[in-house]
Amino acid sequence: MIEVSQLSKNYGDFAAVRDLSFVVRPGEVMGLVGPNGAGKTTTLRCAAGIIPATAGTVTLGGIDLAADPIAAKRQLAFIPDEPRLFEHLTVWQHLNFVARLYGISDYALRGESLLADLEMTDKKHLLPGELSRGMKQKLAIACGLLHQPRVVFFDEPLTGLDPGGIRRMKDVMRRLARDGAALILSSHLLSLLEEVCTHVLILKDGSKMADGTMAEVRARYSEGTDMSLEDVFFRATGDAEGAGTAAAKP
């Protein structure tokens, strides 16, 4: 479970995230959306303990991130938009390295299984430079899932993936949620959120505009009409021009 309470992040006088609170329970997938500069990536990085929050608390799997960051991070996997890999380590050496960081005794078994699931078994001795963009992303996911995280953050996970890669990524997210992990998914792709997410949180200028289940957020902004998430997004963020364009779509 992910619990974020009154999270704020300031850069000097500029507030990137203001007083943000939300909860993601096991099995839930929360979509984090907002226009550029809304504070999505900052929220994800604060919640993952990558950058310090100015105020507020983050609890991952019941462990306070500030009080015990090591135990909290053991629950977590952070999958960035751009797979950041070590260019001299092969696919299998990446898994070996991550296993040591998390102290996973049975990593060989889990690693083989993950590579098989991701259709990468025949790539285990290749370097990142020999992998396609989609394969690199799959390796980043394998590294993230090796320690069986209970909390997973995805930052723009579909960037640069081909249709096959997109489908596999969606399957991974659904499977993780089914297995009881709490997921946060930050993306501009509203169609992806509609497909995968159970909940949504709309951010603008660092503040929460709306959150809840997809149905709740839709109901709040649709005024009884059948509205797409795109329409809801523009209404929630107060983008009249966007709302008009979206409404005019057939």
Binding site: T41, R45, A99, L101, G103
Partner: protein
């Protein structure tokens, strides 16, 4: 259209200068600029400015020596030009940026306009280089003449060579279109070259006797002989256009400069028309070159620039990494894979064996023993340089750490574990290099006659004592780039660009100063307590004991300092706000 290209060039340059000036508002660039300007002024330009514009006192060297230098320069140009026709296999390409390719290639422009634009752009660099070289080399001091004339001479040489290389690449492309592949072109070129060389050699043998050893036992003798060789036909005929080209540079007064200018300018104009009238397709190869350049610049800016190419083959791990255990060891394992199979214990042991065998061989013969001192001094000097130079080379790796810090910080690791992990591999490599150099010096000195108290056994003990403190000292110095990254990340980033101008040069100088200060401060307590331990050992009347005691105490102090530094950097890393440095 030319106006648009001129506008692009002028505005790009003006905006680049404006951006450079604006960033001087930031203290890191302002201090860097001040340091850079001071360095350039005091070490390069102070004398040059004083002498620039004044005619030299006349040539310090005999006239015939100037002519010999000119002939040799012409010969060097001949070799460069021959090389440009025979060796390159790349397709004809002009260097454009990706933006230029995107805007100019689809624009309603002829190839000739693109070439003109390219020539115009290259002229800026050539002009700047010519003035800089003339200032830095201050050639007039030795051969007389005026620095303005030297700058103009450089400009003529560089401009003509630039045009010739472009023209040669176009001609090679044309030959390829006609079906002459690079391998055959090289073979034909080499045959032609061999024929010409053979003809010159045959002529030379009949006209110029081989000199006796005492005729070429000094620089003047060697130069004189070369001068006579190059003055003989048919080589002198081949060299004639090249001698026209270098003549303005070697002119010793205004009259000879103006006289030499006419044929040199004629050559330049002929080259210009040759290039402009070539109608060769260079677009496709130029797009590839632009893409490669953009990738290289992007890699350099993100700190991913490497000396070699990207790894093509996976590398064996240096040891088996168990899934449980000391976490920082995983970083050593990862980084040793990255540096490659050469940096392994086996290689180091072989090197030690070579050092021991080599120094024993030198020491075995009294005639070779004088070399032992030279080898030992070189080893010690290199060890001293490596103490500062090693961490400075590390800065590239440190920037790479910055680019992966968000991933590293999402792992369940304490800050000190990450810092120690990243320090371990350079520390191990540096320490082993230092030990090898110490072994070399100790082996050399131990075979030389005793000097004072330094008999062979004491020499070995002293080397062991220094070896003991080498590891923590290397670790401490390697903390400097990490401290720079965590406390002055913007400085580390700004010094990672491609050159970056005077201000970045100044920043690097300031960073070097930082290393020296840290080394002095960290050694001070170690030296003080080690000194007390040495006196204690001496008081006990045993030099060996004194040396070892000094080493143990000084090493312990350095280990404590290193522990404190790693802990301190780890805490800083945990609090480090990446969002200030990385895009949100």
């Amino acid at each position: 259209m030319i106006r648009a290209l001129l506008y692009l060039q002028a505005m790009s340059m003006a905006n680049a200068i404006r951006a450079r000036l604006l960033r001087l508002k930031q203290p890191k660039y302002a201090f860097g600029a001040l340091a850079g300007i001071a360095y350039l002024y005091f070490f390069l330009f102070r004398d040059a400015f004083r002498k620039f514009g004044q005619s030299g006192p006349g040539s310090d060297l005999p006239t015939e020596m100037g002519l010999q230098f000119a002939a040799i320069a012409a010969f060097v140009l001949l070799v460069m030009v021959a090389w440009s026709w025979i060796m390159p296999s790349a397709r004809a390409a002009l260097k454009f940026t990706e933006a230029e390719v995107a805007f100019l290639f689809p624009a309603p422009m002829t190839r000739r306009m693109l070439i003109h634009y390219k020539l115009l752009r290259s002229q800026l660099g050539i002009l700047f280089s010519s003035i800089l070289i003339a200032l830095v080399l201050r050639r007039g001091v030795a051969l007389g003449g005026n620095p303005f004339m030297h700058a103009a001479g450089w400009w003529l040489i560089l401009s003509t060579l630039n045009l010739h290389f472009i023209g040669a690449s176009f001609a090679r492309e044309r030959l390829l279109e006609l079906g002459l592949h690079p391998a055959r072109r090289r073979a034909l070129g080499a045959m032609l070259l061999a024929l010409v060389a053979g003809a010159c050699w045959w002529w030379l043998r009949t006209r110029l006797p081989v000199p006796d050893a005492d005729q070429i036992n000094d620089l003047r003798g060697v130069l004189g002989y070369f001068g006579r060789v190059l003055a003989l036909p048919p080589l002198s005929w081949l060299l004639l256009p090249f001698q026209w080209l270098v003549a303005p540079f070697f002119a010793v007064d205004l009259y000879s400069f103006l006289r030499a200018l006419v044929p040199a300018l004629g050559l330049l104009v002929a080259h210009y028309f040759w290039v402009i009238r070539s109608d060769v397709s260079f677009e496709e190869a130029s797009i590839d070159v632009a893409r490669q350049r953009a990738e290289k610049i992007s890699a350099m800016r993100s700190g991913r620039m490497r000396l070699g190419s990207a790894p093509l083959k996976s590398r064996a791990a240096p040891f088996t990494l168990a899934p449980k255990g000391f976490v920082s060891l995983a970083f050593l394992w990862k980084n040793l894979i990255a540096v490659g199979p050469f940096y392994r214990l086996r290689t180091w042991l072989i090197a030690c064996g070579i050092v021991i065998a080599g120094t024993l061989w030198l020491g075995a013969d009294p005639a070779r023993q004088s070399l032992l001192t030279i080898v030992a001094v070189i080893a010690i000097s290199f060890a001293g340089w490596a103490l500062i130079g090693g961490p400075m080379f590390m800065q590239r790796e440190v920037r790479q750490t910055l680019s992966q810090l968000d991933i590293l910080k999402s792992f369940p690791l304490r800050g000190w574990q990450i810092v120690l992990g990243e320090l371990l591999s350079p520390m191990v490599l540096m320490t082993f290099a230092q030990w090898l150099l110490l072994l070399t010096a100790a082996m050399c000195f131990s075979q030389l006659p005793a000097r004072g108290v330094f008999d062979p056994s004491i020499t070995v003990i002293a080397a062991v004592a220094i070896a003991l403190i080498a590891a923590p000292l290397c670790g401490l110095l390697l903390c400097v780039p990490y401290a720079g990254l965590l406390y002055f990340p913007a400085w580390m980033e700004s010094s990672s660009g491609t050159g970056g101008g005077i201000e970045v040069l100044g920043q690097r100088l300031l960073m070097f100063g930082g290393y020296v200060v840290v080394m002095a401060l960290s050694l001070l307590p170690a030296a003080a307590l080690g000194g007390i331990a040495f006196l204690l050992g001496q008081w006990l009347g045993n030099l060996t004991l004194a040396l070892l005691l000094t080493s143990v105490v000084a090493g312990a102090v350095l280990v404590m300092e290193l522990t404190a530094a790693v802990t301190w950097l780890g805490e800083k890393l945990e609090r480090f706000d990446l969002s200030e440095e990385m895009p949100r």
